[in-house]
Amino acid sequence: MIEEFAFYSLLLWQIGIISYILLNKFYGRNPKKIIKTSQLTAVEVDLPKKSIEHVDINMKKNILMEKANVSNLKTDEVIKGKVNTQKNKLKKLRGL
Protein backbone atom coordinates (compact mmCIF):
# COMPACT_ATOMS: atom_id res chain seq x y z
CA MET A 1 0.00 0.00 0.00
CA ILE A 2 2.76 2.43 0.98
CA GLU A 3 4.79 1.30 -1.98
CA GLU A 4 1.89 1.98 -4.37
CA PHE A 5 1.36 5.42 -2.87
CA ALA A 6 5.07 6.22 -3.22
CA PHE A 7 5.03 4.99 -6.83
CA TYR A 8 2.04 7.09 -7.89
CA SER A 9 3.32 10.08 -6.03
CA LEU A 10 6.67 9.85 -7.79
CA LEU A 11 4.94 9.41 -11.14
CA LEU A 12 2.86 12.52 -10.64
CA TRP A 13 5.91 14.51 -9.61
CA GLN A 14 7.72 13.37 -12.75
CA ILE A 15 4.82 14.33 -14.98
CA GLY A 16 4.71 17.72 -13.31
CA ILE A 17 8.44 18.31 -13.68
CA ILE A 18 8.44 17.20 -17.34
CA SER A 19 5.46 19.46 -18.10
CA TYR A 20 7.25 22.37 -16.46
CA ILE A 21 10.42 21.74 -18.47
CA LEU A 22 8.52 21.44 -21.75
CA LEU A 23 6.37 24.53 -21.14
CA ASN A 24 9.37 26.52 -20.07
CA LYS A 25 11.24 25.41 -23.18
CA PHE A 26 8.53 26.58 -25.61
CA TYR A 27 7.11 29.64 -23.92
CA GLY A 28 9.81 30.69 -21.50
CA ARG A 29 11.99 32.23 -24.20
CA ASN A 30 9.12 34.06 -25.93
CA PRO A 31 7.14 35.31 -23.09
CA LYS A 32 3.77 36.76 -24.10
CA LYS A 33 4.05 40.44 -24.65
CA ILE A 34 1.46 42.18 -22.65
CA ILE A 35 0.48 45.37 -24.40
CA LYS A 36 -1.09 47.82 -22.20
CA THR A 37 -3.91 49.44 -24.13
CA SER A 38 -5.37 52.56 -22.90
CA GLN A 39 -9.11 52.84 -23.53
CA LEU A 40 -10.03 56.32 -24.70
CA THR A 41 -12.67 57.72 -22.55
CA ALA A 42 -14.59 60.92 -22.93
CA VAL A 43 -14.08 63.62 -20.42
CA GLU A 44 -17.16 65.47 -19.48
CA VAL A 45 -16.86 69.19 -19.91
CA ASP A 46 -19.29 71.93 -19.27
CA LEU A 47 -21.03 73.10 -22.39
CA PRO A 48 -20.44 76.68 -23.38
CA LYS A 49 -22.98 78.84 -21.70
CA LYS A 50 -23.96 80.59 -24.93
CA SER A 51 -25.56 78.31 -27.46
CA ILE A 52 -23.92 78.24 -30.86
CA GLU A 53 -25.92 80.23 -33.37
CA HIS A 54 -25.55 81.01 -37.03
CA VAL A 55 -24.78 84.51 -38.19
CA ASP A 56 -27.16 85.85 -40.75
CA ILE A 57 -25.97 87.99 -43.62
CA ASN A 58 -27.63 90.43 -45.92
CA MET A 59 -28.14 89.41 -49.51
CA LYS A 60 -26.06 91.32 -51.98
CA LYS A 61 -28.55 93.50 -53.72
CA ASN A 62 -27.49 93.78 -57.27
CA ILE A 63 -30.55 93.29 -59.39
CA LEU A 64 -30.46 94.68 -62.88
CA MET A 65 -33.71 95.28 -64.63
CA GLU A 66 -34.58 96.77 -67.96
CA LYS A 67 -37.78 98.66 -68.48
CA ALA A 68 -40.24 97.07 -70.86
CA ASN A 69 -41.69 98.76 -73.89
CA VAL A 70 -45.10 99.92 -72.70
CA SER A 71 -47.91 101.12 -74.88
CA ASN A 72 -50.95 103.00 -73.76
CA LEU A 73 -50.98 101.53 -70.23
CA LYS A 74 -53.65 103.21 -68.14
CA THR A 75 -54.60 102.64 -64.54
CA ASP A 76 -57.66 100.42 -64.21
CA GLU A 77 -59.35 102.54 -61.54
CA VAL A 78 -58.66 105.99 -60.13
CA ILE A 79 -60.53 107.29 -57.10
CA LYS A 80 -59.99 111.02 -56.76
CA GLY A 81 -60.52 112.92 -53.53
CA LYS A 82 -58.88 113.36 -50.14
CA VAL A 83 -57.52 110.08 -48.88
CA ASN A 84 -58.19 109.51 -45.20
CA THR A 85 -55.35 108.07 -43.19
CA GLN A 86 -54.53 107.76 -39.51
CA LYS A 87 -51.29 109.71 -39.93
CA ASN A 88 -51.98 112.31 -37.22
CA LYS A 89 -52.95 109.71 -34.60
CA LEU A 90 -49.92 107.65 -35.56
CA LYS A 91 -47.70 110.71 -35.20
CA LYS A 92 -49.10 111.41 -31.75
CA LEU A 93 -48.59 107.80 -30.65
CA ARG A 94 -44.98 107.95 -31.72
CA GLY A 95 -44.49 111.21 -29.88
CA LEU A 96 -43.29 113.03 -32.97
Binding site: M65, V70, T75, V78, V83, N84
Partner: protein, 342 residues
Protein backbone atom coordinates in the same frame (compact mmCIF):
# COMPACT_ATOMS: atom_id res chain seq x y z
CA UNK B 1 -45.51 113.89 -52.34
CA UNK B 2 -45.50 110.77 -50.18
CA UNK B 3 -46.86 107.59 -51.72
CA UNK B 4 -47.99 104.28 -50.30
CA UNK B 5 -47.89 101.16 -52.46
CA UNK B 6 -49.71 97.94 -51.71
CA UNK B 7 -48.04 95.19 -53.75
CA UNK B 8 -50.79 92.60 -53.71
CA UNK B 9 -51.09 89.32 -55.56
CA UNK B 10 -54.30 90.41 -57.22
CA UNK B 11 -54.09 94.22 -57.21
CA UNK B 12 -51.41 96.87 -56.97
CA UNK B 13 -52.81 99.91 -55.20
CA UNK B 14 -51.20 103.29 -54.64
CA UNK B 15 -52.40 105.94 -52.24
CA UNK B 16 -51.41 109.60 -52.24
CA UNK B 17 -53.05 112.41 -50.31
CA UNK B 18 -55.48 113.18 -53.13
CA UNK B 19 -56.14 109.88 -54.92
CA UNK B 20 -56.12 106.13 -54.92
CA UNK B 21 -55.12 104.15 -57.99
CA UNK B 22 -55.75 100.45 -58.55
CA UNK B 23 -54.30 98.16 -61.17
CA UNK B 24 -55.17 94.51 -61.53
CA UNK B 25 -51.98 92.48 -61.26
CA UNK B 26 -52.54 90.12 -64.16
CA UNK B 27 -51.60 89.76 -67.79
CA UNK B 28 -52.27 87.69 -70.83
CA UNK B 29 -49.77 86.85 -73.55
CA UNK B 30 -51.09 87.27 -77.08
CA UNK B 31 -49.91 84.82 -79.72
CA UNK B 32 -49.30 85.91 -83.29
CA UNK B 33 -47.04 88.05 -85.39
CA UNK B 34 -45.78 90.86 -83.14
CA UNK B 35 -46.27 93.82 -85.48
CA UNK B 36 -49.75 92.73 -86.44
CA UNK B 37 -50.81 92.11 -82.82
CA UNK B 38 -49.46 95.50 -81.72
CA UNK B 39 -51.30 97.28 -84.51
CA UNK B 40 -54.55 95.52 -83.58
CA UNK B 41 -54.24 96.29 -79.86
CA UNK B 42 -53.33 99.92 -80.49
CA UNK B 43 -56.35 100.31 -82.77
CA UNK B 44 -58.61 98.98 -80.02
CA UNK B 45 -56.93 101.07 -77.33
CA UNK B 46 -55.88 98.03 -75.32
CA UNK B 47 -52.78 98.55 -73.17
CA UNK B 48 -49.92 96.14 -73.61
CA UNK B 49 -46.33 95.51 -72.64
CA UNK B 50 -43.74 94.31 -75.13
CA UNK B 51 -40.69 92.39 -74.01
CA UNK B 52 -38.50 89.91 -75.88
CA UNK B 53 -40.82 89.85 -78.89
CA UNK B 54 -43.80 88.94 -76.76
CA UNK B 55 -46.92 91.02 -76.33
CA UNK B 56 -48.72 90.99 -72.99
CA UNK B 57 -52.12 92.59 -72.33
CA UNK B 58 -52.01 94.00 -68.81
CA UNK B 59 -54.50 94.68 -66.04
CA UNK B 60 -58.30 94.63 -66.17
CA UNK B 61 -58.29 94.12 -69.95
CA UNK B 62 -56.42 90.84 -69.50
CA UNK B 63 -58.89 89.79 -66.83
CA UNK B 64 -61.84 90.62 -69.09
CA UNK B 65 -60.33 88.67 -71.98
CA UNK B 66 -59.90 85.63 -69.75
CA UNK B 67 -63.63 85.76 -68.90
CA UNK B 68 -64.62 85.78 -72.54
CA UNK B 69 -62.14 83.29 -73.95
CA UNK B 70 -62.01 80.32 -71.66
CA UNK B 71 -58.93 78.99 -73.46
CA UNK B 72 -56.95 82.15 -72.75
CA UNK B 73 -54.70 81.66 -69.77
CA UNK B 74 -54.65 84.56 -67.34
CA UNK B 75 -51.13 84.92 -66.00
CA UNK B 76 -50.15 86.32 -62.63
CA UNK B 77 -46.81 88.06 -61.95
CA UNK B 78 -47.26 87.09 -58.30
CA UNK B 79 -48.41 83.93 -56.62
CA UNK B 80 -49.10 83.31 -52.96
CA UNK B 81 -48.06 86.84 -52.07
CA UNK B 82 -44.61 86.66 -53.65
CA UNK B 83 -43.08 86.85 -57.13
CA UNK B 84 -44.37 83.97 -59.21
CA UNK B 85 -41.41 81.61 -59.84
CA UNK B 86 -43.21 79.94 -62.74
CA UNK B 87 -43.80 83.17 -64.60
CA UNK B 88 -40.79 84.21 -66.66
CA UNK B 89 -42.39 87.40 -67.96
CA UNK B 90 -43.49 88.66 -64.55
CA UNK B 91 -40.85 91.31 -63.96
CA UNK B 92 -41.38 93.51 -67.05
CA UNK B 93 -45.12 93.44 -66.40
CA UNK B 94 -44.65 94.40 -62.76
CA UNK B 95 -42.26 97.12 -63.81
CA UNK B 96 -44.86 98.54 -66.19
CA UNK B 97 -47.64 98.38 -63.58
CA UNK B 98 -45.55 100.10 -60.89
CA UNK B 99 -44.35 102.72 -63.37
CA UNK B 100 -47.91 103.52 -64.40
CA UNK B 101 -49.18 103.75 -60.81
CA UNK B 102 -46.31 105.74 -59.30
CA UNK B 103 -44.98 107.74 -62.23
CA UNK B 104 -41.55 109.34 -61.99
CA UNK B 105 -40.67 110.94 -58.65
CA UNK B 106 -40.63 114.71 -58.51
CA UNK B 107 -37.84 115.82 -56.21
CA UNK B 108 -37.33 113.91 -52.98
CA UNK B 109 -40.40 111.76 -52.85
CA UNK B 110 -40.79 108.82 -50.51
CA UNK B 111 -42.57 105.63 -51.39
CA UNK B 112 -43.39 103.10 -48.68
CA UNK B 113 -44.29 99.68 -50.02
CA UNK B 114 -45.30 96.50 -48.27
CA UNK B 115 -44.03 92.94 -48.24
CA UNK B 116 -45.56 89.86 -46.70
CA UNK B 117 -44.26 88.34 -43.49
CA UNK B 118 -42.41 85.05 -43.81
CA UNK B 119 -44.87 82.30 -44.64
CA UNK B 120 -45.13 79.45 -42.14
CA UNK B 121 -46.60 76.94 -44.58
CA UNK B 122 -44.34 77.44 -47.60
CA UNK B 123 -40.60 77.22 -48.09
CA UNK B 124 -40.18 80.72 -49.38
CA UNK B 125 -38.11 83.68 -48.25
CA UNK B 126 -39.22 87.23 -48.81
CA UNK B 127 -35.77 88.79 -49.45
CA UNK B 128 -35.70 88.42 -53.24
CA UNK B 129 -39.27 89.69 -53.57
CA UNK B 130 -38.40 92.69 -51.39
CA UNK B 131 -35.26 93.48 -53.37
CA UNK B 132 -36.91 93.25 -56.78
CA UNK B 133 -39.71 95.61 -55.78
CA UNK B 134 -37.23 98.02 -54.20
CA UNK B 135 -35.14 98.01 -57.38
CA UNK B 136 -38.17 98.74 -59.55
CA UNK B 137 -39.45 101.56 -57.33
CA UNK B 138 -35.99 103.14 -57.09
CA UNK B 139 -35.80 103.12 -60.89
CA UNK B 140 -38.55 105.74 -60.84
CA UNK B 141 -36.53 107.99 -58.53
CA UNK B 142 -38.17 107.35 -55.14
CA UNK B 143 -36.62 106.99 -51.74
CA UNK B 144 -37.91 103.67 -50.59
CA UNK B 145 -38.98 102.19 -47.28
CA UNK B 146 -40.58 98.82 -46.69
CA UNK B 147 -43.02 97.69 -44.01
CA UNK B 148 -44.87 94.45 -43.38
CA UNK B 149 -48.34 94.21 -44.85
CA UNK B 150 -50.09 93.37 -41.58
CA UNK B 151 -48.30 96.23 -39.83
CA UNK B 152 -49.73 98.60 -42.46
CA UNK B 153 -53.18 97.28 -41.50
CA UNK B 154 -52.30 97.96 -37.86
CA UNK B 155 -51.44 101.58 -38.74
CA UNK B 156 -54.95 101.99 -40.10
CA UNK B 157 -56.94 99.93 -37.63
CA UNK B 158 -55.18 99.90 -34.28
CA UNK B 159 -54.35 103.58 -33.73
CA UNK B 160 -57.30 104.05 -31.37
CA UNK B 161 -56.01 101.19 -29.22
CA UNK B 162 -52.42 102.39 -28.74
CA UNK B 163 -51.32 100.21 -31.69
CA UNK B 164 -52.10 97.14 -29.61
CA UNK B 165 -54.06 94.21 -30.97
CA UNK B 166 -54.16 91.76 -33.85
CA UNK B 167 -53.97 93.04 -37.43
CA UNK B 168 -54.94 90.72 -40.27
CA UNK B 169 -54.60 91.39 -43.98
CA UNK B 170 -56.77 89.04 -46.02
CA UNK B 171 -55.19 89.12 -49.46
CA UNK B 172 -55.62 87.10 -52.63
CA UNK B 173 -52.37 85.18 -52.37
CA UNK B 174 -51.96 84.95 -48.62
CA UNK B 175 -53.14 86.16 -45.27
CA UNK B 176 -50.77 88.22 -43.14
CA UNK B 177 -51.03 88.50 -39.39
CA UNK B 178 -49.29 90.77 -36.90
CA UNK B 179 -49.78 90.75 -33.15
CA UNK B 180 -48.85 94.26 -32.05
CA UNK B 181 -48.20 95.65 -28.62
CA UNK B 182 -47.68 99.38 -28.11
CA UNK B 183 -46.61 99.75 -31.74
CA UNK B 184 -44.12 96.90 -31.63
CA UNK B 185 -44.64 93.65 -33.48
CA UNK B 186 -44.65 90.76 -31.03
CA UNK B 187 -45.42 88.16 -33.67
CA UNK B 188 -45.90 88.30 -37.42
CA UNK B 189 -46.29 85.59 -40.03
CA UNK B 190 -48.26 84.74 -43.13
CA UNK B 191 -50.08 81.71 -44.47
CA UNK B 192 -50.08 80.92 -48.18
CA UNK B 193 -53.82 80.77 -48.48
CA UNK B 194 -56.11 83.60 -49.40
CA UNK B 195 -58.77 84.53 -51.91
CA UNK B 196 -57.02 82.61 -54.70
CA UNK B 197 -57.10 79.45 -52.61
CA UNK B 198 -60.86 79.88 -52.18
CA UNK B 199 -61.26 80.38 -55.94
CA UNK B 200 -59.17 77.32 -56.79
CA UNK B 201 -61.07 75.07 -54.39
CA UNK B 202 -64.44 76.34 -55.61
CA UNK B 203 -63.36 75.88 -59.23
CA UNK B 204 -62.27 72.29 -58.57
CA UNK B 205 -65.48 71.41 -56.76
CA UNK B 206 -67.96 73.05 -59.11
CA UNK B 207 -66.24 72.66 -62.48
CA UNK B 208 -66.42 76.39 -63.16
CA UNK B 209 -63.23 78.05 -64.42
CA UNK B 210 -61.16 79.87 -61.81
CA UNK B 211 -61.40 83.20 -63.67
CA UNK B 212 -65.18 82.91 -63.68
CA UNK B 213 -65.28 82.04 -59.97
CA UNK B 214 -63.18 85.13 -59.23
CA UNK B 215 -65.51 87.25 -61.30
CA UNK B 216 -68.62 85.91 -59.53
CA UNK B 217 -66.96 86.47 -56.14
CA UNK B 218 -66.04 90.05 -56.96
CA UNK B 219 -69.12 91.19 -58.83
CA UNK B 220 -72.09 89.05 -57.83
CA UNK B 221 -74.94 91.04 -56.29
CA UNK B 222 -76.40 87.94 -54.70
CA UNK B 223 -73.25 86.82 -52.89
CA UNK B 224 -73.70 87.26 -49.16
CA UNK B 225 -71.90 84.96 -46.75
CA UNK B 226 -74.17 85.84 -43.82
CA UNK B 227 -75.88 82.79 -42.38
CA UNK B 228 -79.36 82.24 -43.73
CA UNK B 229 -78.94 84.60 -46.65
CA UNK B 230 -77.58 82.14 -49.18
CA UNK B 231 -80.00 79.89 -51.00
CA UNK B 232 -80.63 76.25 -50.27
CA UNK B 233 -78.32 74.04 -52.32
CA UNK B 234 -81.26 71.81 -53.32
CA UNK B 235 -83.53 74.68 -54.30
CA UNK B 236 -81.23 76.19 -56.84
CA UNK B 237 -79.35 74.06 -59.28
CA UNK B 238 -77.77 76.88 -61.22
CA UNK B 239 -74.06 77.14 -61.72
CA UNK B 240 -73.90 80.46 -59.88
CA UNK B 241 -75.74 79.23 -56.80
CA UNK B 242 -73.42 76.22 -56.56
CA UNK B 243 -70.44 78.56 -56.77
CA UNK B 244 -71.84 80.88 -54.10
CA UNK B 245 -72.45 78.04 -51.66
CA UNK B 246 -68.97 76.64 -52.26
CA UNK B 247 -67.46 80.10 -51.73
CA UNK B 248 -69.13 80.35 -48.33
CA UNK B 249 -67.89 76.93 -47.37
CA UNK B 250 -64.28 77.67 -48.30
CA UNK B 251 -64.31 81.08 -46.65
CA UNK B 252 -65.13 79.26 -43.42
CA UNK B 253 -62.27 76.83 -44.01
CA UNK B 254 -59.84 79.68 -44.76
CA UNK B 255 -60.70 81.60 -41.59
CA UNK B 256 -60.54 78.44 -39.50
CA UNK B 257 -57.06 77.71 -40.94
CA UNK B 258 -55.93 81.24 -40.17
CA UNK B 259 -57.20 81.30 -36.59
CA UNK B 260 -55.88 77.82 -35.80
CA UNK B 261 -52.42 78.75 -37.05
CA UNK B 262 -52.48 82.00 -35.12
CA UNK B 263 -53.29 80.10 -31.93
CA UNK B 264 -50.54 77.50 -32.56
CA UNK B 265 -47.94 80.15 -33.40
CA UNK B 266 -48.85 82.12 -30.33
CA UNK B 267 -48.38 79.07 -28.12
CA UNK B 268 -44.95 78.43 -29.63
CA UNK B 269 -43.24 81.74 -28.95
CA UNK B 270 -41.38 82.94 -25.91
CA UNK B 271 -41.84 86.38 -24.42
CA UNK B 272 -45.48 86.57 -25.36
CA UNK B 273 -46.73 89.97 -24.33
CA UNK B 274 -49.32 89.85 -21.64
CA UNK B 275 -52.53 91.51 -22.69
CA UNK B 276 -54.28 92.44 -19.48
CA UNK B 277 -57.20 94.03 -21.31
CA UNK B 278 -59.07 92.63 -24.28
CA UNK B 279 -57.68 93.84 -27.62
CA UNK B 280 -59.34 94.25 -31.02
CA UNK B 281 -58.78 92.15 -34.12
CA UNK B 282 -58.77 94.43 -37.17
CA UNK B 283 -59.11 93.03 -40.65
CA UNK B 284 -58.38 94.55 -44.05
CA UNK B 285 -57.61 93.39 -47.58
CA UNK B 286 -59.63 92.56 -50.68
CA UNK B 287 -60.61 89.05 -49.61
CA UNK B 288 -62.51 90.53 -46.66
CA UNK B 289 -64.68 92.68 -48.95
CA UNK B 290 -67.32 90.07 -49.63
CA UNK B 291 -70.68 90.69 -47.94
CA UNK B 292 -71.17 88.75 -44.73
CA UNK B 293 -67.44 88.17 -44.22
CA UNK B 294 -67.60 89.14 -40.55
CA UNK B 295 -70.47 86.70 -39.96
CA UNK B 296 -68.31 83.83 -41.16
CA UNK B 297 -65.34 85.11 -39.15
CA UNK B 298 -67.41 85.30 -35.96
CA UNK B 299 -68.76 81.81 -36.60
CA UNK B 300 -65.23 80.42 -36.74
CA UNK B 301 -63.85 82.49 -33.89
CA UNK B 302 -63.90 80.83 -30.49
CA UNK B 303 -62.75 83.01 -27.58
CA UNK B 304 -62.20 80.01 -25.32
CA UNK B 305 -59.52 78.66 -27.66
CA UNK B 306 -58.01 82.00 -28.64
CA UNK B 307 -54.83 82.90 -26.71
CA UNK B 308 -55.65 86.59 -26.27
CA UNK B 309 -58.78 88.18 -24.84
CA UNK B 310 -60.53 89.90 -27.74
CA UNK B 311 -62.71 92.98 -27.33
CA UNK B 312 -64.10 93.20 -30.86
CA UNK B 313 -63.57 92.06 -34.43
CA UNK B 314 -63.58 94.97 -36.83
CA UNK B 315 -63.49 95.22 -40.61
CA UNK B 316 -61.53 98.36 -41.49
CA UNK B 317 -63.39 100.92 -43.53
CA UNK B 318 -62.56 100.58 -47.22
CA UNK B 319 -60.71 97.34 -46.50
CA UNK B 320 -59.35 97.00 -50.05
CA UNK B 321 -57.19 100.13 -49.79
CA UNK B 322 -56.29 99.80 -46.09
CA UNK B 323 -52.75 98.49 -46.71
CA UNK B 324 -51.98 101.26 -49.23
CA UNK B 325 -53.28 103.88 -46.80
CA UNK B 326 -51.19 102.41 -43.96
CA UNK B 327 -48.13 102.64 -46.22
CA UNK B 328 -49.08 106.22 -47.10
CA UNK B 329 -49.25 107.23 -43.41
CA UNK B 330 -45.76 105.85 -42.90
CA UNK B 331 -44.44 107.62 -46.02
CA UNK B 332 -45.93 110.93 -44.91
CA UNK B 333 -44.34 110.62 -41.47
CA UNK B 334 -40.97 109.78 -43.03
CA UNK B 335 -41.17 112.89 -45.19
CA UNK B 336 -42.27 115.10 -42.27
CA UNK B 337 -39.49 113.72 -40.13
CA UNK B 338 -36.93 114.52 -42.81
CA UNK B 339 -38.32 118.02 -43.28
CA UNK B 340 -38.03 118.61 -39.53
CA UNK B 341 -34.44 117.39 -39.53
CA UNK B 342 -33.58 119.70 -42.41
Amino acid sequence: MAKGLDCGTSFYITATEDRIKKQRNAFLTVDGEVTQVKRMLKRQGIPFVEKNKKIHIVGQHAFNYAQIFSTAELKRPMKSGLLNPQEKDALPVLNAIIGELLGDAVGDETCVYCIPSKPIDAKRETSYHEDVLKTIIEQYGYRVKVIEEAVAIGYEGLVDNQLTGVAISMGAGMCNIAVMYQGMTALSFSVSRGGDWVDECVSTDTGVSKAKVTNIKESSNTLNLAKGVYNDIYEEGTEESNVLIAIRSYYGALINYLLTNLRVQFEGIDNVPNFPDPVPIVIGGGTALVKGFLDVFNEQFDQTEFPIPVSEIVLIEDAHTAVARGCLSEAQLVEEDEEDND
